[in-house]
């Protein structure tokens, strides 16, 4: 037993402890440095999100997706059938980069609603609902269709994982003056007063889809601000 104790005492334990103590400040500095890098440059690391761009037929969903991808949309083709867009990077005005995963361009026809809309709404984090503002104001049948679709979106949104629904009333350029635009906003909002889905229009804006800068400003300032 004594021999064993002597043997243990003869082991170079103090040297090993010294070595560990010597490395501790280095490890601490490394952790501190890594933390600082993450804090200072954290925003530049891509943030992965999933988007669902949904809405009425001819509302500008394809153009919206082209704008998000910073691509020129000059082949004006309507969408019929699901177009796989895949992953892309969305660079915001505030310097933040978002990686949008598994994105799809889906058609707006009514027949697609029972087929894919429900799952699409429930499975994505950010929902963008588009409709033609000019038609909404001037065509009663269209307005009823949009409202039915909003009710459907709202119902499925409540059962899904989405963090928010953002409504874009497109074709704002068809309103000739600022006053007409303001009137349209008021009319659209008041038309859903008292409806179960009225809350969807709390994140609502009138948009000229050809003005990509306006869209990027809304995305950067309102939907994905720095502190988001």
């Amino acid at each position: 037993m004594e021999l064993l104790v002597q043997l243990l005492l003869s082991l170079p334990v103090p040297h090993q402890q010294e070595a560990v103590f010597w490395f501790l400040p280095v490890i601490a500095v490394a952790i501190l440095f890594a933390g600082t890098v993450v804090i200072l440059f954290g925003d530049s690391y891509p943030d992965v999100k999933s988007f669902a761009i949904i809405g009425m037929q001819g509302a500008g969903k394809t153009q919206f997706l082209y704008n998000l991808r910073n691509k020129k949309y000059d082949e004006y083709e309507a969408t019929l059938g699901i177009e796989e867009i895949g992953e892309f990077s969305l660079k915001l005005n505030n310097g933040k980069t978002i990686t949008v995963k598994g994105c799809k361009d889906i058609p707006g026809g009514e027949e697609w609603i029972p087929e894919i809309y429900g799952k699409f709404i429930r499975d994505n984090e950010f929902l963008f609902f588009l409709f033609n503002s000019y038609k909404y104001v001037n065509n009663y049948k269209y307005r009823i269709s949009v409202q039915a679709r909003m009710e459907y979106v709202h119902r499925n949104y409540l059962n899904g994982k989405a963090k928010g629904v953002y409504v874009f009333a497109t074709f704002a350029d068809q309103f000739k003056s600022k006053e007409d635009r303001q009137k349209a906003i008021t009319e659209i909002k008041s038309s859903v007063n008292g409806k179960t889905y009225a809350g969807l229009l709390s994140n609502f804006c009138l948009l000229d889809m050809r003005d990509k800068d306006e869209l990027m400003k809304i995305l950067s300032d309102k939907i994905f601000p720095n502190n988001e």
Partner: protein, 155 residues
Amino acid sequence: MNNILYTQNESATKSNTIVVDGVSYNDMNTGVAQEAFRFVNKKSSLKGDYVRILDILKRMRKVESQNLQFKKDDDGVFIKACFKEKDELGRKMPFLYYCKTDNMLDACKQLIASAKELNRTCYENDINALLNVSKYLAAGVSISLIILILIIWKM
């Protein structure tokens, strides 16, 4: 179902149309129309044939429809493209078409006839590309082989 043509209408407020064996439907949520709609939708989600060749033709502006796609399998021929006619927003009107045949020429002839029933016209360039896509592939392979032989010969 031997022949299905599913297409958009001029106005966004008008429902899309599906023509199944000569009968036109606007409601695709029940019966034969729903079955046909699901069938062409499923076909359009599958990987098409000669995708790379068609992409090259699109970039070279040898075809008009940027969504041009086709698939030939045991079920028949599936084609996705656009008509010459445009909708109220000035966009080319797309279609999904299925024909129970193993012959591309026959499918194209039937597509043109079905489109005519709806007062629609297919792009000649698109039809030519569909009929000659295997020839384009053969030409591409031949050119590549000649270039390869020339490179080896020069070495």
